[in-house]
């Protein structure tokens, strides 16, 4: 019987910290055990960093909330050891359809090419995501999860933070080298620091319903503008596991949220979409107003903000939880390097630079979608409706229809950690891009490229007919800023091995294509799998410089 993650009650356990006279010191304290806090903590713990997670509640998410988890997030979850349960339980999808009145106007495929392990998206209720992350967290000795620990006081010093946590027993103090605030849109940490997340509220309301029913809709994201069953407004439909369907109804600004949540208001809307005979039950109903906003800076000395505490978006592109998990991916390795003395504290400034940039991209895209779905002025509505009408018969107009530009990871092309190209390259694997995936074979077994890179700096050498400068490559692993070497051999060249070096066969030639690689090409990937440098030939000195640059060690 599947665990009911929504009603799981997690135990408050008194920590030994609470009985000591002086506050206990921890390297990292994470506030908030939602998807972003748990991802950050798991990543740190996997990296050998001891982390304490404080959550003021003792339950996981109630309601499906974030449901669309993107390919890049799944790849991060794979690295955190939780990807497979997510994909096994989740509903995979790639195709979206947009309808205007009675017609299909636009169909898009978010992963039109084969040769990737993970789909463009899975739909999975947030309580499952948190449940699987929580179960993974419980297996990690370095991770201490403290439920019913509410942060009520915060003092910042130049080299540490001190917190006061309220518990069912009395309050206690603890200190940390770093505090990672993953405590959501209404972040208490942010409030305690007297800071704000600023942006734009959209004058509209959406009814969000989780409806349990048996239905024939295909596993596609369906969005309607002005459908017969909800005139002059929009509707969004997503399939979730357990025969639960997410249906969002646009209500308009003048709708009364409390009235609209009542069954007598919700049921007719659902019956209009599904027909009166369809049997269904409600799992969860909520009314939302959307905001796009962010903090000016995500890093404030020893306090770092990640996820909704730092930035919020309207949900049409699924850029909220996904970008938050990418924040965690970006931050954890940097914290590890700083705490281990392998990088200066200033490396953490790059988290702010990179993730503020990504937040701006997500906000831009989410805002544009919301402006199309909820036009801000009369003339904007005229253009929106003109676009929809033209889309019926004009291919160009279909591209303009914006019911959501779905989350793709930001390419950190302007990051100070990148080494700019000095050689010519084509394709998408520019410095700052997250690594693509491709099918590979290792000792004859089928596998995927991404499982061989990341977690640490990785140097990927594309070999000509199996020949590789093995000694020099193996030597990269030495030292405090070592790089794990991986050699990619051409299709059919199995049976090649080098001591101390992972060898992967580019089984369908897709790696070489996607990386625009020729024999001798070398890519340096960061611990978060983002490209940070690449060359047409391998020179260990260049690699060492690039690693120094990517770790803030100039």
């Amino acid at each position: 019987m599947e665990k009911d993650y929504q009603s799981l009650e997690l135990p408050y356990r008194r920590s030994p910290d609470q009985d000591l006279a002086e506050p206990v010191h921890h390297p990292v304290i994470v506030v908030g055990a939602g998807p972003v806090g748990l991802a950050t903590a798991i990543d740190l713990a996997q990296r050998g960093i001891k982390v304490v997670v404080l959550d003021d509640d003792n339950k996981l998410s109630f309601g499906s909330r974030a449901i669309c988890f993107a390919k890049r997030t799944l790849e991060i979850f794979d690295r955190l050891g939780v990807g497979q349960p997510m994909v096994d339980k989740g509903i995979s999808w790639n195709v979206g359809k947009v309808f205007f009145q009675d017609d299909l106007v636009y169909r898009f495929n978010l992963l039109p090419e084969a040769g990737h392990q993970r789909p463009a998206f899975i739909n999975l209720q947030q309580y499952y995501v948190e449940g699987y992350l929580f179960e993974r967290a419980e297996t990690l000795e370095n991770l201490s999860l403290r439920w019913k620990n509410k942060v009520v006081g915060l003092t910042r010093h130049t080299d540490h933070v001190e917190l006061t946590a309220e518990t069912p027993d009395k309050s206690y103090r603890l200190t940390g080298d770093y505090l990672i605030a993953c405590d959501g849109g209404c972040s208490a940490v942010r409030r305690m620091m007297g800071m704000e997340s600023k942006g734009v509220t959209f004058r509209d309301r959406f009814l969000i319903a989780d409806v349990k029913m048996k239905a024939d809709f295909p596993t596609e994201r369906w969005f309607w503008f002005d459908p017969p069953f909800h005139r002059n407004q929009s509707v969004l439909l997503h399939r979730q596991p357990d025969d639960v369907w997410r249906i969002d109804f646009q209500l308009g600004w003048d709708a009364d949220p409390e009235e609209e949540k009542k069954p007598e208001r919700v049921i007719p809307r659902i019956q209009a979409l599904l027909g009166k005979e369809t049997e269904f039950t409600f799992e969860w109903v909520s009314v939302y107003t959307f905001v796009c906003m962010r903090m000016k800076k995500f890093r404030h000395g020893r306090v770092i903000f990640a996820g909704d505490s730092a930035h919020g978006v309207s949900p049409f592109g699924a850029r909220g939880a996904n970008s938050g998990v990418q924040d965690a991916d970006n931050l954890a390795w940097k914290l590890q390097f700083v705490l281990e003395g392998r990088a200066p504290d200033t490396l953490l400034d790059s988290y702010g630079v990179e993730r503020e940039f990504a937040a701006d991209e997500n906000i831009l895209n989410s805002t544009r979608s919301t402006d199309f779905i909820t036009p801000k002025s009369e003339i904007s509505r005229v253009f929106r409706d003109a676009t929809l009408q033209l889309a019926k018969d004009h291919p160009f107009a279909r591209r303009l229809v914006n019911s959501g530009r779905l989350s793709v990871p930001a390419v950190l092309w302007a990051s100070p950690l990148n080494t700019p190209d000095t050689d010519e390259f084509a394709g998408a694997m520019v410095p700052g891009a997250p690594s693509t995936d491709a099918p590979v074979r290792v000792h004859g077994d089928h596998g995927w490229f991404l499982s061989h890179v990341g977690q640490q700096f990785t140097g990927v050498y594309f070999a000509a007919h199996g020949a590789a400068p093995a000694d020099a490559l193996a030597g990269l692993a030495e030292g405090r800023l070592g790089v794990k070497p991986v050699v990619v051999v051409q299709p059919g060249m199995s049976g090649i091995s080098y001591p101390g070096i992972d060898v992967v066969e580019d089984s369908e030639g897709l790696l070489a294509t996607r990386f625009d690689a020729r024999p001798g090409t070398f890519y340096l990937l960061r611990p978060d799998q983002h490209v940070c440098a690449r060359w047409r030939s391998f020179d260990p000195t260049h690699v060492r410089s690039a690693v120094a640059r990517a770790t803030g060690n100039f």
Partner: protein
């Protein structure tokens, strides 16, 4: 490439009459929709974002 504001319409008077004629008998609301669609169609035909931005700036500056 900047927006061309030099004469380029082959038969200017013919075009002008056709434009006005397109709106014959329409309410202002219908005309707004016609204008919006025309802008989108022609913008697509032009394609170049710099030219389009140039035109947009020019008309906004005039206010």
């Amino acid at each position: 490439m900047p927006l061309n504001i030099e004469p380029a319409i082959a038969k200017a008077d013919d075009f002008y009459e056709a434009l006005i004629d397109t709106h014959r008998g329409l309410t202002l609301e219908q005309s707004q929709m016609v204008n919006a669609k025309l802008i989108l169609l022609l913008a697509n035909h032009i394609g170049d974002l710099d030219v389009l931005r140039d035109a947009l700036k020019r008309v906004r500056d005039g206010l």
